[in-house]
Assembly symmetry: none
DNA sequence: TATGAATGAGCATTCATTCAT
DNA sequence: AATGAATGAATGCTCATTCAT
């Protein structure tokens, strides 16, 4: 019998290490060696679980995407207000910032890959669906406007997340909250 | 007698070629050789006018940033409405999309460089100032709210520009206009 | 109770798989993994039966050498004419071509290994002995000439086998037969 | 002005070094590093003049092929007898043996490459043409038989060259001459 | 007996950089 | 001012080998 390992768990560990490396060093500077070192294995182990670097990177991107979505869903499930839930998902600590940085990388990679673009689009529309649901229930709002309101909120969240991930110093949580709440006020016509 | 060349013009040509290369191939894949080829010179010429690759890249980023700002200013000077002016600046053709892609690269680079981060921040606040001015004049709006409205619009424009640069197919100009106009409606309380 | 396996049979199976792999992919491209896959086992099993890759390769070379010789001996035992027997041994189907390709590899390996060179030499002289016997019986031929005739025939067979193994399209069986028969005619003075 | 070098001469030097390396170490063991070292340059220089390893190898193969042909042609031009000329071309010293070893490698490579196979075939037919011409002039020999005689001689020369390249110790020049002269005697019906 | 996880050395290749001309 | 030859470090990747199970 071979050494017993959980193949999927192993892949997940390496994917998480890769996400870290990508966030810290950028997608090109994140070498197999640095990814392996973060995961505490050798480069050979990485190529044992992934066919090539693209494969590792893809796993890292999906890993971070999934993590971001989970964070938002968890917050909503806990019954927090949309604003609070979104603030939970925005880059406010090491982990969430890391995921936003990886998400940026995902977007960049999507520019030059048909396949990643479709993944990216799918992920985007899931965000939009969640937002549309979370914002539902306003009176006297046409479905078209409801959709546009959701797009508006998603756009603002994206912009805040991007800006805060790039320059955390310029976007403390209070600034994030203040802009997000203003957005909600404008959307609700207050 | 040495050959007479306009040093600055030469640098600008190469910077523009580098911006093109970065947008087309990504910052890492854009090699000195490919940049030189686009500019119609040899790698030696590039290193003659720039100290190293970072220097070329910086020039390319500033070049594209400048181009985007000019486009917006020009549109406003022509007396176009804020919405039309912003749509002019958003990625609607090869050139504007290219500049947005370079802007993304700029943002990425700012993540890991103190110097670029300060440049990036300055560029962002110029956008915000322009937006604040362009949107000014609403009655019964407190200065704080005016500032937040401007931030909101800038955020939405950033998000649209980003999304459209990444996935132009998903963001035809009509969609850009429709979301932007909705944003304005909400801001003006219609 | 340990699983019961026939050690020698197991080695033979793997050696045959290795011969196949070497003929198909070349000696360097034939990896332990690809050899194991052809044999329907894991790489661990291969290293269990052989000390290292060189050992597997050696077994494959001897395996193919043995197969070629058997094919010639069998044909002669069936009472076929020397020409027909040799044509049987030449590369005329998948199997015989494969063995010739492995034989080439054997020769290559012999260039850089004292040990393989001696094996190779022994194998060559067995061919020569067989040929000398098969061609024996001409009248008025001195023993020296008989030996040279045999060398001549072996040389021609080697050359045909080589050429046909390398470029089967250029060496259909008719061409092989025609050259071989011409050789015999010249040897017999017709 | 750049450093002035003769591009073609540079390529030829590296190709010769590669031929040496291939003969000494085999095609796979001949690394770019070892080739570069033999040529007295760095690996970067090799890739500067050749697009990749395949390209270097091809140049080496053609280089050796050309050298062998030249050697035969030169001997014939000097008015030597066919036998003497062929013996000149056969592996009798370091250089000629090296070329025969590279020729073997060429043949091997031709097995798996359509392109090399066509090159190989062309080279083979040039040998045959030369042989046909050199042997021409026998009385009472039909053209068909003349062609077959040439094929026979070429086959024997190939076989001797191959054997002598692989195992020089077993094929001193006297043995090469003796078999080749016997071949000629049989062809001429003595 | 047999597995396949893990290693790490070695490869071809790419590329920013230097520099003789 | 401009060239492009040459360098050499670094990368992704392959693979024989080892070994815990």
């Amino acid at each position: 019998m071979p050494k017993i390992v959980d193949h999927d768990e192993r892949r997940a560990t390496i994917a998480a290490a890769a996400a870290e490396a990508i966030a810290d060093e950028g997608i090109e500077q994140a070498t197999l060696k640095s990814i392996a070192a973060r995961a505490g294995v050798t480069t050979g182990a990485v190529t044992h679980y992934f066919s090539d670097k693209d494969d590792v990177v893809l796993a890292a991107l999906l890993h971070a995407d999934e993590a971001m979505r989970s964070r938002l869903d968890a917050a909503l499930d806990l019954g927090r207000s949309p604003v609070d839930a979104l603030l939970d998902a925005l880059p406010n600590d090491e982990t969430s910032r890391r995921d936003w940085l990886v998400w940026r990388t995902f977007s960049d990679a999507a520019i030059r890959s048909e396949f990643l673009r479709s993944q990216h689009r799918r992920s985007q529309s899931q965000w939009l669906d969640t937002a549309t649901q979370a914002l539902a229930g306003g009176d006297g709002v046409t479905p078209d406007d409801a959709r546009l309101d959701a797009e508006l909120v998603v756009a603002v969240v994206d912009a805040i997340g991007d800006a805060a991930a790039i320059d955390p110093g310029a976007w403390p949580i209070e600034r994030q909250r203040s802009l997000l709440e203003h957005c909600m006020r404008r959307v609700h016509g207050d």
